[in-house]
């Protein structure tokens, strides 16, 4: 399992925090985790755009940049409206730290090895983020509008996962 996906799963299954075993997050911290999780996938896509020459991989990477940028824009607008300033926290810091390791791993590969590593990471990352949004961020969010935004983002994450799995399957043929 890629490092970042492992980190997200570990955080969702963490022991410090509330009764369900999740870390306790304020809405400002949930907003920060949501923005960071989207930024991380954009950063992976930017590496793909530099290192891949595969048309399908490049198209997927551009979709990740466009969609996750749209989500960040919606989250930023909502945070502004609600007067919430995203606040760094253990979860967002851990995500960023592990993303750095994954980015180094991706940047060390080229050609087909890169394409495989990128697509595999996208499958694992989206699975982990979907798990984190469903199991951590939505339950932790108190504000109804922020919770609603997270619920609206889930179908996009699931469509991205389905798309990444299609690429993964096609690459194994």
């Amino acid at each position: 399992m890629p490092l970042l996906a492992f980190a997200v799963v570990s955080l969702v299954a963490g022991t410090a925090g509330n009764a369900q075993g999740n870390p306790k997050l304020s809405d400002a911290e949930v907003a920060s985790v949501a923005v960071v999780a989207n930024q991380i996938d954009i950063s992976y896509a930017e590496i793909a755009k530099k290192r891949s020459q595969d048309a399908d991989v490049l198209k997927f990477a551009q979709t990740m940049i466009d969609d996750h940028s749209a989500v960040i824009s919606q989250a930023a607008s909502l945070a502004k409206k609600l007067g919430v300033v995203p606040k760094d926290n253990d979860v967002s810091r851990q995500l960023l730290a592990d993303a750095e390791k994954t980015k180094k791993e991706l940047e060390s590969k080229s050609g087909e090895a890169f394409n495989t590593a990128y697509v595999d990471n996208e499958v694992a990352y989206h699975k982990a983020v979907i798990g984190a949004v469903e199991g951590l961020l939505i339950p932790e969010t108190e504000n109804a509008e922020l919770k609603s935004l997270l619920q609206k983002v889930l179908p996009a994450l699931k469509a991205h996962l389905g798309h990444a799995e299609m690429l993964q399957k096609n690459r194994k043929k």
Partner: protein, 122 residues
């Protein structure tokens, strides 16, 4: 003409205008002239929201107009699946695109290929 008959006639004209005179912010319209002249073309709306086309299956008559409305937060398109025989412009959030249905088609979003739909021309 009695006033009730006049207002009834006006309503019919208005209804016909509403069902046939829809415009779109998209830029593609097929030729509706091959439709059956005995049947007045209708307009149907397919909503794109939560990464789905709704309704995912639509039954129409030849010459009917289908309006796709993107109510999602991300950009989509509508592309004929089998032969890529037609495709919409890129639909940013809030945009619409319309086409005149001539033959039954399976379609998908080429940006998010897991999103699929179909219309059946009866």
């Amino acid at each position: 003409m009695d006033s009730k008959m006049f207002s009834g006639g006006l309503m019919v004209v208005l209804a016909l205008f509403l069902t046939t005179g829809c415009t779109s912010t998209g830029d593609t319209k097929d030729d509706p002239s091959a439709g059956n002249p005995a049947i007045q073309p209708k307009s149907y709306t397919v909503e794109i929201a939560m990464m789905k086309f709704t309704p995912s299956t639509l039954s129409v008559h030849k010459g009917d107009t289908i309006i796709f409305v993107n109510n999602d937060m991300v950009t989509h398109d509508v592309t004929e699946q089998k032969e890529k025989a037609w495709r919409s412009s890129t639909l940013a959030a809030g945009n619409t695109w319309s086409m005149v249905a001539m033959t039954s088609s399976d379609y998908y979003c080429s940006i998010h290929p897991v999103m699929t739909g179909k219309f059946i021309v009866e």
